[in-house]
Amino acid sequence: MPGGGVLAEIIWGLATSHVPSIGAAMDRGLTQDPYWKPLFDAYEPARRWMAERVPDVAIIVYNDHANAFDLDLVPTFTIGTAARYEVADEGFGRRPVPDVVGAPELSEHLVESLIDDGFDLAIGQDFVVDHGLTVPLSVFCPEPGEAWPCAVVPIVVNVIQYPQPTAARCYALGQAIRRAVATYDQPIRIAVFGTGGMSHQLAGERAGLINPDFDHMFLDAIEHEPAKLTSLTRTDYIREAGSEGIELIMWLVMRGALNERVRGVYRAYHVPASNTAAAVAVFDNT
């Protein structure tokens, strides 16, 4: 049942891959090609459900891919506090999607609450957002027109340099976000996106790795038994899901922000999207 509406509430969670070619397929009108049609057909029910429940703000947990940040300083977690985030030019022109409107008041509240709750986040007041964030927005809203339907608070996670944060820490950050939202005194509706994955590895002799057994276990556990996933080590994630599959820890930030018990309303899994096992899952948090 929805809350009383006096305070902010998290209404749903989305878990989705953020493969750049998914965005490119949309941008180039390829979604009905034989290669892409199964994945985009699978998005339809999730999109319809989410479109009926558009949030005021999406907190989007993702990683940057050498676009906003470099390797000279690698924060484990960064929260955006900007009023606007420009879409990145990742090397060959930016995606033809709108710039992202921020939610600076919510960002400010989250920053203070999270730091006081023991999470030493970096605070980013100005950075571009790449496919890690915009592809999930496009999965949610394929035709935004002039503007995305909601504002965004980006949470950027280091997954590209060892040691990444632990799965347990990611889940705990999510729980801290939940506590932070619970004390935000604006009656806004918030959705949380956990992005990346699922299993994939681009380099080394194990390039092309896909692990459906692990991915399906993860899809079940993220809904019903997230503690099982928080006890997995970095080594477990890299070994089972591939060096790039460690991105799945970002789904745990999303899951931690949701209630202990959630209702999974939809999930789909499709191989391949480029080198990746692509998945989408939506969780009702009301």
Partner: protein, 118 residues
């Protein structure tokens, strides 16, 4: 060997030691996001590498597009990817280079469900 990162066969795990080793290369890769820099690189790749302070081994790997060697020498995958994009290639052609196959064959392998390990 310093560090405690996991050792997983057939898998690169970029860590802080790689950061130190590959800093010049990764910084150079980052510059290739800008069209003017790409043009300058293309005009004289060796000189561009020299200006960015790559070691002789790193420069050699870049000039030969020896992706495994670049990563052995500290390249971070996502930064190295800017050079892959400059070449007009993609993640499947990169993976093909690591698995001794062609891009077309690698796409076929992925469409067939990808590769299983362990």
């Amino acid at each position: 060997m310093a560090g405690s990162k996991p050792v997983i066969p057939g898998t690169y795990i970029y860590d802080t030691a790689d950061g130190r080793a590959g800093a010049a290369m990764n910084r150079m890769f980052a510059t290739l996001k800008k069209p003017a820099n790409r043009a300058e690189f293309t005009a004289d790749e060796a000189a561009y590498c020299d200006r960015h302070g790559l070691s002789d081994q790193q420069k050699d790997a870049v000039l030969r597009r020896d992706w495994p060697r670049m990563m052995d020498l500290g390249a971070n995958l996502f930064f190295m990817f800017k050079l892959i994009l400059l070449d007009g290639k993609n993640s499947q052609s990169l993976s093909a280079a690591f698995t001794g196959t062609t891009e077309e064959e690698f796409v076929r392998i992925m469409v067939a469900g990808g590769r299983r390990f362990g």
